[in-house]
Amino acid sequence: METGGRRTGRPQGLPAVGEGISVHRVMGTETEYGIIAPALPSANPTLLSSQVVNAYAATLREGLGNLAGTRWDYTDETPLTDARGFRMDRARAHPSQLTDEPPELDELTAEQIALERGEPAEAAVLMNLVLNNGARLYVDHAHPEYSSPEVTNPLDAVLWDRAGDSVAVAAMERIAATPGFSPVILYKNNTDNKSVSYGSHENYLVPRSVPFSKLAEALIPFFVSRQVICGAGRVGLGALNQDAGFQISQRADFFENEIGLETTVRRPIINTRDEPHAVAEKYRRLHVIIGDANLHEVSNYLKTGTTALVLALIEQGRAPVPVLEDPVAALQSISHDASLTRTVQLTDGRAMSGLDLQELYCEAVTAALPPDADDQTRDVVARWQSLLATLRRDPMDAARQVDWIAKLSVLEAYRARDGLDWTDPRLALVDLQYADLRPDKGIYRRLARRGDVELLVGPVDVARAVVEPPRDTRAYFRGRCIAEYPAEVVGASWDSLIFELPGERRLQRVQTREPLRGTAELTGALFDAAVDAEDFLSRLLSGPERRVAP
């Protein structure tokens, strides 16, 4: 992990949440990929998504790693628990909110998919994989989703997010090479530009002691303006693409509320799902649903890095709270102005642009930065300051760092050369194909290969992150259990592993409710010493805290 653990990892002794202005805290990303099979226009998207999961499983079976067709352990999932202190009635929830059930409501079940493939219903069609790197690859509604392992800093978040894109490419290539299967294309974007959006989420561990209202009030203006440094760009305006034009964000026009529990309908700027996947008395998991999926590594790095810094400000009671008159309207207004000059109204009478708001937060972080801040924290702050200065001077100068600007540069070049207006389908195609993950076809991939993009992680590191977990979170324990004991691990989740030992009738569930335990430091020697799964479990559970990973 040249770019990860050792050099840029969490400094010894620094807590991952709650103290100090720093980018270091437990975090992770989720990407729902857009998916089509061009030769099969009416293909069921759940079926296509299951092909992605199964194709990746097939590459693993061939020796690139171990395979556990792992059942997801839904025991601790509580998608209807609201951070504001109540639970939503299951009967009132939209079916897509019931994420604590296997996807069988209005979607295909594994059995139906097997039948559709002409296989017996009991044929093993995987809807879920837990990977050796600690990530989850699964069918989420009508999209394949990669949820990264837990990491402790923004650079590692970029690295394991990039690993997910490599997983997606491997699956696409496998499907394309399999006789009888029609090639599938995966896109790292967030809308079909008809009426539909799908998510790219971030998760941050936050101490439970910070009141949710304090998080919401400071984060709303930050999230409304964050798109200027990490939007992915979109051709078309409005949720139904009803007007022509370019905007900064893929997601902005699909948001309707300030705060709420939903993620698929009436989307809120602040999502209140209270499903900590950790010791609930100590932690929240802030589930951020407003971000765009990033291809630019610098955009992704600053998206997670600046958000971590603002969370640290909030925890210290030092965050600015510029109250917007209408946050949803401001989000869309800022997105629709690529010149970055349009202002939005505050309740105190001030008018600020997206850049003004970002500078407000950046200045507050700068003022609060301790003199002994670690290297990565200083790097994120310096890049944030420098990018905001560039955007202030001329946004088009940041094409090497920011997705929406790189995309807009290509679009404007086409408009200049061919005299295209914003309704031209070729511009819509450039927008779509920018996010095509195929190395030869994707426009972002082409820009990166030409050297037109600033990269933060190298191909060797990404290849390693595809098969190895981060060493400094419980993802290490999960990934290594999957890698070492693929036959015995029959279920997994963010905070548990379920073992089935030969000759034993009862399953053994090991909880991993502390995200900063189960690390290489704490469990590496245990894995190295154990001769098999049974020996491993008996060594693990003979400690002072049975059934909980060290």
């Binding site: 809308t191 539909v196 998510g199 698929t264 819509a428 195609l429 426009i443």
Partner: protein
């Protein structure tokens, strides 16, 4: 380019235009560099568009229309 244009036409202009203070001093010091930079940038953009032309899906309208997704989170 704008300053280049003004400089090259400067000799035959009327009195009122000669009052523009800025372009004149720039003329002897750095005439070629911005032009060269701009032309290499233009060349780079042309190359990029040629490269993208070569990989864009062939029927833009049909392909874009065919990209239909079901809702997600």
């Amino acid at each position: 380019m704008a300053s280049q244009d003004r400089i090259s036409t400067g000799g035959s202009t009327s009195g009122s235009e000669e009052e523009l203070p800025e372009p004149a001093p720039a003329a002897p010091t750095a005439p070629a560099a911005p032009a060269a930079q701009e032309s290499s940038q233009t060349q780079g953009v042309d190359d990029l568009l040629d490269e993208i032309d070569g990989v864009l899906e062939s029927n833009a309208e049909e392909f874009v229309r065919g990209f239909v997704q079901k809702g997600g989170q």
